[in-house]
Amino acid sequence: MLVQLASMRDAYAEVLLELGEEDPRVVVLGADTSVSIKTSLFGDRYPERFFNVGIAEANMMGIAAGLALAGKIPFVTTYAAFVPGKCLDQIRNAIAYPNLNVKIVSSHGGLTVGPDGASHQTIEDVAAMRAIPRMHIIVPADAPSTKSLVAQACRTLGPFYIRLSRPSVPTIYSASKDVEVGKAKILKEGSDIGIIACGIMVNEAMEAAEALSKMGVSAEIVDSHTVKPLDSETIIRVAKKTGALVTAEEQNIIGGLGGAVVETVTDSYPVPVSRIGVRDTFGESGEHKELMIKYGLTSKEITRAAKHLVDSR
């Protein structure tokens, strides 16, 4: 099968141009990473609506708040290593507390930023943002769903955190197969185990499903791109149907999607859950595939966890 790879940041840059055309309220802010993330394309087309604030993330968030208060829809973009890390206070107090219409889109999330090493690998952003009231969190799985989810975020009032990864990823969604903010997407039906994933781990989950199927295990695959508010209805339904869950995400296993799923099933329908993610440790330099293998972010890990849960029933 021919696997088509596409970059989330290319998709983001493309959809920003479309949104800029569609809605004059859209403005874009950058912090000296606009060329790398390609938001500079928006700046080239709409220079009067693009603001590069230099390497000053806290100020960028504050400015975004002011723009939103004056009726704009600011898209704030830099690397996930710095947003939310360098500006959590501004995000909390100036954006989430007043429920402002600011869309924070961070690129290069997770370990797969690669050779830059641990200082630039973000493993805690989703957990940090989850703990902030009113924040929506989206972790798209591929380029087409990035486009769709970013566009929906633009049309939905309130603060959003959208987290993209750096590597080009296999395309999972065709343009016709739509995604909806707040609704987890069942990508494959199954009955023995539910695998709830987000971001680049959705593709790993799909590969795991194939491997499991060869072992006679039927896995249901869920793209939980919206980590907050979590689609708990779908999660519970899958838990009831399969009786055990595996979560998979490119972030610390503490406080992210895995945490959210565990909290949800614990509250309503407790089932065993195995969490795949970075095991509360910092990363290191390396190529993204090497890092995924070393830190357990692979279809193999998902397969092993799923098989173990099914066998121990």
Binding site: A56, M61, L67, L69, K72, Q90, N93
Partner: protein, 275 residues
Amino acid sequence: MEEQSIPIGMLLQKAAKIRAHILEMVAEAKSGHPGGSLSAVEILVSLFFYKMRHDPKRPDWPDRDRFVLSKGHAAPVLFSTLAEAGYLPTSELKTLRKINSRLQGHPDHRVPGVEFPGGSLGIGLSAAIGMALAGKVDKKDYRVYALLGDGELDEGETWEAAMAAPKFKLDNLTAIVDRNGIQQDGLTEQIMPMEPVGYKWKAFNWHVLEVDGFDFRQVIDALEKAENMRNRPTVIIAHTVKGKGVSFMEWDPAYHGKAPDKDTVRKLVKTMLEE
């Protein structure tokens, strides 16, 4: 520009009433920040009762001038001023800091006329820049004012913002520093020396003015000069006294965040309003 005489008498009256409100509401709440509220009274009175284009009946009017209280702990002076201006009933002021009140310990957007939830220091100037940028994009002529504490200048974000505003040529933005010389732990020049503060802003390419922050003519004159400046933001360093108007509070860092008791306030207010 048409010459307009400044109604000093009215402004003085408003200032006296607002000082009384501040003391009463903080005493009632038994907590809050009277010192840095009292130092900023004349600045807010100059803005809300003379300089700013605003309408208490239309707090969302898109063309209104905006006031950002970055030093959000001075919420009592903002709420009192908004009440005197007609944004909320003065009777509500006594609910400050109480459960189920709109009047939070630090301002938030539930209160009409509050433009930004200042409180975590250092963010307000950035937010004011955002509002000013939006005004430029929309070709609107509203002005944005941000009041900063001098202790607040310790925050790095203030200087990130100070770099950005001249870059974007925000002549519709005026920052005002309430230079009362005291922060929570003591004198600003001992905790984190900020002098020469005017030169710092000058070095960041701001149009810098220094005034006596209790002299209405000087404050208003500076606000007018700021309005007439093209292509550059203005910062007004307003020299003030923390706790202004209450002899035992003036220059005492203890009154940064301490409320005087009700009896004392009753006597103080009586004298204040008689004057």
